[in-house]
């Protein structure tokens, strides 16, 4: 689904405005935490949407990249005393570097085999986080990670961290839109439609796949380092197989080929459990049920569902205005579009 660049940018501005004005409206600190988590998950989902929705490659190991970056920056800054800015860069770098190393052989695999390879990679990392106790603190977690601080400025309040995170999220989305509207984006679309045809046109498939894989791992890494310095505590449970699956679900549920969709999916799936907490014990049943029903009745994701709803509302309004004006100039096409035309 390719929108125009201008429309994409307007969408991004709208989102950022909403995110900027949200905290005072929410009021409560707990909501701010949830919103921050939404933004971090959205960061990973955007990268994954490039990979899954646009390059057509699946990854069931992205929680691994997320965790790898988080642990790298934690160990560097807390254990070795490296300044936070540098350790964060290193964390993102390690995620991207490992993605390049793993991606080189893994992206030669297709479909379910690639899913298995990335899944295996994620499981291996998750076991390492659990078992290298002297380095990571093991299952009970890594505590006392320094708070976010850059160029001598320490982000002491959660609100400041939140604003920094939406700045980064904005950059990530902006970069993704730019990638999609560039030569790379066109190559990816060709690749997704038919790898053979793309190859015949002289597109270096392997290079583009690897590029997107590394980019998406870097986005996950960014989210990981921010998460570590935001919460100042990380545990392996946050970076396991189930989170990888949840990330894929965010992307597919949001609408695979749409970046706004993946963001909506990430927000939806992060907020839903918090909202369902009111139902206590049957929370998990509702979560599973909603997931199944959404996928059954919104095959093109939440974005596709909104899109259809929006078009329907727009058509209703249009038909009504049509009838009000009734000047008879150039309305033929539009009344046709209204179909039954008996909404009024």
């Amino acid at each position: 689904m390719s929108m125009g660049y201008g429309k994409d940018m307007r969408w991004l501005c709208g989102l950022l405005v909403l995110l900027v004005i949200a905290p005072p409206l929410l009021g409560n600190n707990y909501y701010l935490t949830v919103l921050t988590m939404c933004c971090l998950n959205a960061m990973i989902a955007v990268g994954l949407s490039l990979l899954v929705g646009h390059a057509g490659q699946i990854s069931l190991g992205h929680a691994g990249f997320y965790g790898l970056a988080a642990y790298t920056t934690a160990v560097l800054s807390a254990t070795l005393g490296v300044p936070v800015g540098l350790s964060m860069l290193a964390g993102v770098g390690v995620s991207a570097g490992v993605a390049a190393l793993v991606g080189l052989p893994a992206l030669k695999l297709k479909g379910h085999y690639l899913a298995m390879a990335t899944l295996g990679f994620g499981v291996i990392l998750s076991i390492l986080f659990n078992e290298t106790v002297e380095l990571t603190g093991g299952p009970s977690g890594f505590t006392d990670i320094p708070r976010l601080a850059l160029f001598g400025f320490e982000f002491t309040s959660d609100l400041a961290v939140y604003y920094f995170i939406i700045l980064i999220l904005g950059l990530v989305i902006w970069l993704s839109f730019n990638i999609l509207h560039s030569r790379v984006g066109r190559a990816l679309r060709a690749l997704h439609t038919s790898e053979k045809a793309a190859q015949a046109m002289g597109i270096d498939i392997a290079r583009y796949k690897l590029f997107i894989f590394v980019i998406s791992a870097a986005f996950a890494g960014l989210a990981g380092v921010l998460y570590a310095h935001y919460l100042t505590f990380i545990a392996p449970a946050s970076f396991g197989f189930l989170f990888s699956v949840q990330l894929i679900v965010m992307v597919v549920l949001g609408g695979m080929t749409s970046i706004p969709g993946s963001i909506v999916g990430a927000f939806f799936l992060t907020v839903l459990p918090e909202f369902l907490r009111a139902f206590e014990s049957i929370e998990i049943l509702l979560f599973g049920g909603i997931l199944v029903l959404c996928m059954m009745f919104l095959p093109d994701g939440l974005a596709g569902g909104f899109d259809r709803l929006w078009r329907w509302v727009w058509r209703m309004l249009y038909v009504r205005r049509d009838k009000d004006q009734d000047t008879g100039e150039d309305t033929g096409e539009k009344t046709d579009q209204a179909g039954g035309g008996d909404h009024g």
Binding site: I124, A206, L242, I282, L285, G288, L291, V292, M295
Partner: protein
């Protein structure tokens, strides 16, 4: 390393591997008729064990009867899942169907947690727990049960697919659903059947393994992962590759646990799997049909 301990690891590996193989068979049967990976497969394995425990404790049934009832219930649940959640959207894209199966696995796991809590349960061994001596290695009677029942199921499936009309029809669907429909095979019914069979196979695996490894509401996740890994190891879509893949994975894991460290046994199995995938991209027994770019 001496022979008895090597033998011991081999026995342990084969026992666990047999269950992985059964789980993998479940994956393969559904994959062949529908082209989707059923992420709820591990939950049927969990249900096999948990429901057996439940029927024994709550209803006071003797163990064999409890297991049979558990397997029947799981099979019916497989049918319900297909009818309610898969059939209405059969024509959807595979990734959507896969996400639906993920949702179903969350549902089943959640329901199991609500019904039976988060405790770990043990099913009594089928025939005593006095280990037999086998060339110096200890052989639990349950191991023999696991291997015998797994072989029986494998033989049963083999007969079903090569001898019975339903089995042949299912095979036809896996080759080409459209062509199968053209020669008068009810593809819908075959898909339903494939969900039932794989739920059955999974539940049997769960029930026979429960006396050895204990069971709880969340064992399905790891078992499902291992089953999927076994499928890929053997070459996706090949039932006997899946069974063999399960056994190989089980043995590798057990050797890894014994020779290197038990903490890293799962990691080792996956490392070997990754290396193997990079060398042979379509599994050990998969066809080399251009799975590689």
């Amino acid at each position: 390393m001496d022979l008895p301990s090597l033998l011991q690891y081999l026995i342990t590996g084969l026992t666990v591997g047999a269950t992985y193989g059964l789980t993998a068979l479940g994956f393969t049967i559904i994959f062949n008729t529908t082209g989707i990976i059923n992420f709820a497969q591990g939950e049927f394995v969990m249900l096999g064990g948990m429901m057996s425990v439940f029927f024994m404790r709550a209803l006071g049934l003797p163990e064999p009867l409890a297991i049979v009832l558990a397997v029947v219930c799981a099979t019916l649940l497989g049918a319900v899942v297909e009818r309610l959640a898969i059939r209405p959207v059969r024509d959807g894209s595979p990734i959507n169907l896969i996400i639906i199966t993920i949702g179903i696995s969350i549902l089943i796991r959640g329901a199991a947690m609500l019904l039976w809590g988060k405790d770990t349960f043990a099913l009594p061994a089928f025939s005593g727990s006095e280990p037999l001596s086998f060339f110096g290695a200890a052989l639990m009677p349950q191991t023999l049960w696991v291997l015998a029942i797994s072989l029986l199921i494998l033989a049963g499936l083999k007969t079903f697919f090569s001898r019975s009309i339903h089995g042949k029809a299912m095979l036809a669907c896996s080759y080409d659903p459209k062509a199968a429909a053209l020669v008068g095979i009810g593809v819908d019914r075959m898909v339903l059947l494939s969900f039932m069979i794989s739920a059955l196979v999974g539940a049997v695996g769960g029930a026979i393994l429960a006396p050895i490894t204990l069971t709880s509401f969340d064992v399905g996740v790891m078992l499902g992962l291992k089953g999927f890994a076994a499928c890929i190891l053997g070459g996706l879509g090949n039932p006997f590759g899946a069974a063999a893949g399960g056994l190989i994975l089980g043995v590798l894991e057990s050797l890894g646990a014994g020779l290197i460290s038990s903490a890293y046994k799962d990691a080792l199995a996956f490392v070997i799997l990754l290396v193997l995938l990079f060398v042979r991209p379509s599994g050990l027994f998969g066809q080399k049909d251009g799975k590689r770019v």
